[in-house]
Symmetry: C2
């Protein structure tokens, strides 16, 4: 049975996708896939997403070179979330951090702290705009 | 600055929340929080969610005893996804698996396999209905 028979895309045709670095277990990011971007991901072994803000199909790393090679693609009990294990080149976050989750709550959410070092500035990744 | 000044809830007032077991790095589940369930989570140190299907506020484990104690609560660069590190009691998945992500794609998505053992049946967790 194909995984597509088990998956449920939402009313916009999207499914939330968690990306985890296989070697470290670090959760890198969450992004959205549509059916076409999932098929492209399965075909090419590189993650592709759907940008809800830009309304655009994109390959992770197409500008930055920070691509993600798929090592495993899992789906949850309800079939409405994907979990992809990847090998990540460079920073997953467009702000230059390894993971997009670089800030954690303190004092029951009244404040927060930055939990990791920035690897590169956005200007270093994307060039000055 | 409060984390609430950085967070973006969607049009339905919800934010997707990834739950990861801190000790193993295993991603256990993805669920949705509203502002009230996030506040309750921060206050009590136990995860609370909003069920979109049941339209109900719930504490993870309230029926099963499989509660999650919060060890860290992070948010992503866009402020639209949470990542919570927890100590998980028992199975996170209502189907009795440690993680909801117990199936992985094979053959470019044409098939899939179960990747972990079931710890308990749903009947053992919730009783026969």
């Amino acid at each position: 049975m194909s995984i597509f028979e088990k998956l449920k895309f939402n009313a916009e045709g999207l499914i939330p996708t968690i990306v985890q670095e296989q070697s470290s277990g670090r959760v890198l990011m969450m992004a959205w896939m549509n059916e076409a971007s999932l098929k492209k991901t399965l075909e090419t072994g590189k993650t592709h997403f759907w940008s809800r803000s830009r309304k655009k199909f994109w390959m992770k790393g197409e500008e930055s070179g920070h691509t993600q090679t798929v090592k495993d693609l899992a789906f949850d009990c309800d079939g409405d979330t994907l979990l992809i294990q990847v090998e990540q080149i460079g920073a997953a976050c467009h702000e230059g951090y390894k993971s997009c989750f670089f800030r954690s709550a303190e004092s029951a959410g009244e404040s927060f702290r930055t939990t990791e070092k920035r690897l590169q500035t956005p200007e270093e990744i994307y060039g000055r705009k």
